[in-house]
Subunit: 461 residues, 4 copies
């Protein structure tokens, strides 16, 4: 998949801890794969919340701001990816506001499907917007809600939202945590000494030495105060719709996602793929690093040798000179180099996690062949991506999705490979513990809720 697809956020919150700002940033390091465009944190010292944000990676955030300047007992952090159009510091999170409930900082992972309608209604009602983030819409909803207290306001506000959201809302003394009723995106809570830690993925807990307690429940609003946790349900439980793409690509394999080890599911998918689409090959190689786990599963099941046939250069970052025009493949070459000794004279099966546009895989396939591969077979550890996502993934327009206009055979021809095999939708779902609890809309087009016309108009949190 390789940079063709972007998850849109990672969130973390810590309550009642020491070195909160440091630990929030540590956690953001672990969540960096979920967003590389901006990073930020907000810390409350009980009287005042302060915020620091930067465009770029967590390492940029730490270079531009002194993390020890913000002392406090609770904090939230956020990493974000965003499309070019809205790539400004104004959209970076956490967003810190002041309203009738006092100061509130929000860190949000998700995508509201009724953002456009809500925003239009709010603008009509006299509200102003300083970002193009749909998280700001939620803040307006909290601020304008008539309620006896902040918690009730949050509950009422949340109940108006459709779509997908993992929300951390920090007031000067309380951390509120909410997850949509479909539970699209992962969100878990852990214990670290006397403090509570909430994060998008459990790999952040591991880094901090925190002990996983449980997932936040679908439709749950958790209120964390000095007195402890208080759990409420703000929406009736309906069907679940965990994003199955978290297992395929987004989440780190060392995370426990939706209460299951991502690594295990991803490996199962590789094995299932081997059963569904057997191949006659000498070696199996992954496109590192995202498909390594699936490739290991594929190799195990098929009995074909697992090899590292493509090397990834991790030093290539954002700052980059445009490659000369006549060498289009140079950008891909900068990231990947084939290992000739592994490939030469071999029939090679490449396992990748998914195909979006297919442009990178086309260049890679040629590179493999140029390095002496006799045959190149592609096996994709997920079904063809053919539909838009309105719940937090930044897919290109349907028109640019390879599978929206081409059959697998046509894609194989475009890629210039001997064969191409996809995992089936049923096969993929069966690799999970509860197939019906997942959203696979990008594959099957079956959305768990009605999608408004302007869904996706605003940047997701």
């Amino acid at each position: 998949m390789l940079d063709e697809l972007h998850e849109e956020c990672g969130v973390i919150g810590i309550y009642n801890g020491e070195n909160v700002a440091r630990n929030v940033c540590m956690g953001l390091y672990a969540l960096q794969h979920r967003g590389q465009e901006s990073a930020g944190f907000a810390i409350s010292n009980g009287e005042k919340i302060r915020v620091r944000k930067s465009m770029g990676l967590v390492s940029t955030l730490l270079r531009e701001h002194n993390v020890d300047e913000l002392q406090g007992f609770a904090g939230v952090g956020h990493v974000r990816y965003s499309t070019t159009g809205s790539s400004t510091l104004a959209n970076a999170q956490p967003i810190l506001i002041s309203c009738k409930w006092g100061q509130l900082a929000i860190a949000h992972n998700g995508n509201l499907t009724n953002a456009a309608e809500l925003r239009e209604e709010m603008e009509e009602a006299g509200h102003i917007f300083q970002t193009t983030s749909d998280s700001e819409i939620f803040l307006h909803e909290i601020a304008r809600t008539q309620a006896p207290n902040l918690k009730e306001a949050i509950k009422k506000a949340i109940s108006k939202l459709t779509g997908c959201f993992c929300m951390l809302i920090l007031s000067k003394d309380t951390l509120y945590v909410a997850r949509d009723g479909f539970a699209f995106r992962p969100l878990s809570i852990a214990r670290l000494g006397n403090s509570w830690c909430v994060a998008s993925e459990t790999c952040a807990f591991d880094l901090l030495g925190a002990n996983y307690v449980r997932d936040i429940q679908p439709g749950e609003l958790l209120t964390i105060t000095k007195e402890g946790l208080q759990s409420e349900t703000f929406t009736q439980k309906g069907r679940l719709a965990h994003c199955i793409f978290e297992y395929i690509y987004f989440a780190r394999p060392d995370s426990k996602i939706f209460e299951q080890s991502c690594d295990k599911i991803r490996r199962k998918m590789g094995k299932q793929l081997a059963r569904e689409c057997p191949v006659d090959a000498d070696i199996v190689i992954p496109v590192p690093d995202s498909s390594t786990t699936a490739a290991l599963g594929f190799a195990r099941e098929s009995g074909i040798k697992f090899e590292i046939g493509l090397l990834r250069n991790h030093y290539v970052g954002r700052t980059f000179i445009d490659p000369t025009q006549n060498v289009r493949s140079q950008k891909v070459r900068l990231k990947f180099n084939p290992i000739e000794g592994v490939l030469k004279g071999r029939k090679v099966c490449v396992v990748d996690d998914s195909i979006v546009r297919g442009t990178t895989l086309k260049i890679l396939s040629k590179m493999l062949r140029d390095s002496g591969a006799l045959e190149v077979h592609i096996r994709i550890a997920s079904p063809p991506v053919a539909h838009a996502c309105y719940f937090g993934m930044d897919f290109p327009n349907a028109g640019e999705l390879a599978a929206s206009s081409m059959s697998p055979q046509e894609i194989a021809k475009m890629l210039g490979v001997e064969s191409l095999g996809y995992l089936s939708i049923a096969g993929m779902k069966e690799c999970t513990s509860a197939p019906s609890d997942y959203c696979a809309a990008c594959f099957d087009g079956i959305y768990p809720e009605y999608i408004g016309k302007e869904a996706g108009k605003f940047s997701c949190g």
Copy 2:
């Protein structure tokens, strides 16, 4: 006065021009003395407004952003000073929002005296605040106002404001310009080819080669469109209350302020001071550069030789190493050096524009004496500053004002000088064309309107 006092903003707007972003920034260079903490500009291309802001000087803004990236036909710019507490990019202007009237960018110079009440009311009504600037309050008021169109909304919103404001509001196709009914701060309009130019001071027009047309009227709302200017009055004309401190210190002497040459008024004040507080001295020297004009007037009237006895180092900027503790005067010495040949064996009369705390003048007086001055006489070209300002000046607390607790004789003793003379309030006012049209509240405590309890709580625009 020397860094002890800060004006809080300068604004500029250009409509229907070429190279609008460049010219707005040129104008900001000319207005830089009105604010050095942040600078920014917003440009409309007729379809979309975009904004660029930086902490620091206009030169920093131009280094951090490519001014030619924002092409358009209209723009507004802003330079801002702010107290430490609220010194963040979030408070920098122009503030760009989206609301039911579309995108709006605001550049504001002034201070709302009912900001706290309005903000409290708005928060109660469900609004959220992302800055501590009172300009944001005005934007909320526009956004929530029920009106047939944006212009009417602005009119209604403005009429709720008390205090002092020079507002430039840019929508995608129109530039609105408003000035409070007291006309506290200067604001003028000029013609530059086919374009209109509005600015805090006429020195910006000079730089751009624009021709001064007139001042914006007290209580006037000017609507500038492709069709031309349309003028309306949004408030009944009451008394005027031009800030007399603009003549004393803030405005550049080459600007025409309140329809009079700042240079001329400032010189008159120096002459009047010479008549009121004659001195037996060999030379008259200014504290450069702000009191040079007044010192010239004083020298002319008194017949005492004008000299440059203190040299100012203009290379000393914000980046600075704290001077060693036991050399308190080093920071002042970095900025000013006495010229011994001028001072030695002379009775020296120092003319300064005003005294706020008096700490710098105390160090300067000692420096003069150390350089051989036989006597040091201080003449201040304004009356004793003894009261707070709620209309755009960032005075220290009354308790820190030298004149709030000390008589001139006591101040002279504190400064360690032979004599100290202030201009009288009456004498000062008579230097202007219409004494009753000015606010001199910081001297006489007579405020032109009722001042709420929490006035000054929020940062002024």
Copy 3:
């Protein structure tokens, strides 16, 4: 090994090309693993050589300098690691000088063992030094040599050097390439259209699409002009002493080093290790990424399942907050996270490429056990490192090397693991094509030449 050991340089040169500066920088991206402290390039347009250097990664170099500003037909580039003491821009390469031969830019990978003597002699003779790099010593030698022309001067100068060097010397019209007679470090030449390309590793050629021609020969001086290549031998051929650590750790597995595929040798070492030190384990895991190839070989040979049990976070860069004192392992945790599902209840064999201090491996072993590993066995795909290197590797003092004072059993105890096995020296050498052509002094203490007392005093190139 993990950050405990640093190669000291990578070099690249391109002659007669288009977009030379861009291509040199592309090549530096591929060589980035050989040095991350500074990067630079020098370009000749035939009349003048100009240089650009930055502290940090190639991406920093490209952010700080406009690569297209330096147009020319030939260029050299350099990436460098250096010990803290000499970490300044002055030491970054290429070094550009002017001397009687005109302008010369040098890019050097290696370590002169007689640098201290030469420098002392030169200082006595009246030379001045502006860096602490031993490359500057070589430039002095060229400049002061009596010779009919530059090439002869270089030949004479090189013949005075002992130690290890891969030198690229760019004059305004010629590129000179020299490699020491022992051929310690890799250096190859390739053809790219009409241009020649010389680089430390062939992975740079792959990125540029250049075709590998051959290795620079031991003791060869290659003169590249518009007329073509001219090869000469400046030293009598003695024994070879290729650095075997290039295979173990430094070189990228996709590079062809010393005319052999690094990947293949590294894999053979893993297999040999499996034969020498069998283990009773359920899974074999590498410490990513440097030991992945060896681990694959080990797994293949032993028949034990290969798994990814440790995940590496590639977003962790240099900018970093010090972890809190009481959590010493946090820095290691930031880089590596165990995958519990893979490890739990398993007997785990960890393959690493080498042990220097052993501190990181100790923390990793504990992490594995905490994640449920029943047993932890360490297998090292190289012998114990017990001696200093004077030929380009920045080992810690012998006293800090685990193997200099502890037996493998003692190290195993220190690491807290069930067993520890090293590859034997003989076994290691047999994995190469010509065992006697390699230097393994860091393992066996047998240096290929006499080492002066002050060897290693100056920074290597």
Copy 4:
């Protein structure tokens, strides 16, 4: 003159002090007018000398480096202006080298007239050059000189130099101070508690609170150690040749230069100008700030009113957007604005310190007339500049000097003014205490020593 002419350096040295790095930087602030392109300091702690340099102002140096990081008991500092071609950090000073005498840091103000010959000879002798600064040549000469000790080496090396130099050479324990026998550039020594302070201008002493002791003598080598001062003469005393332009433009008026108050001489020149070139004008105005003192003298002598008719904007720095092509005067307008109230209907006499190209004065003259000046008369407080300088001033080529091809009448016509008057050479010299002790070669073409063909080829220190 206005930016058309650039002094090339300022130097400062402090020996045996506390907070040496801070004080050196303080002193550099005072000397900033002598060079704005780079700034740096080198500090010795008795064992090691370390250096910090930045492109830009002292404020940039202090932002980029932590001044307190370099602790020591002695240091030297430098500010530098340089022509575009050699504007690189490599040329910034102090230059720190290692040689047979140990570490040496040099800070140099001046211009060697035999630099090209010396450098050619040195390159022939086998030396390498890493800068294009002629200070490096001097370092080579010290390093290669056969002498019993460093002091003798410096003496022998200095005696080979021709041209103009004020040298500070810091070894780890000693500060050497040398000034050429003509004493072209100013250099003085002062006492600050127990420490010695040497600087280009006494205004640096004033800032530090140091007490001026005396000027360094022509041809003097001063050796400052823990034991105290030791003075020697390295060259026979010949004629003196103080640069008279220091009085006219370079030095700060508050400095004592060549044992006389710069302010007083500059004022005398203004008075003499009034006597030589009387004018029928209503007001006299300076071009601020450099000609203010001369204008005051002119006004006093002529009896014409002194006024401030041009305002200078000190916020305009280096970062700048190119003004639109069709508004050529915008760059001048950014710096200067006429005060209409002062100028309108008046016959204006503008006093400037000198004319180099005359382009700025032409624009200013037009601005004055556009602001209503009835007549514009220019009076220049120095003679026509018609010859190159080889002793530290960066004049344009003779061909670009207005006075090299035009008579005063022709220049007046080019400027578009009613009259133009220059100070006579004799009149100028008589304003000094000893007319024959000054070099006025840029006016009269009489150089105090033979000028080699390639003088000026290398950047001066």
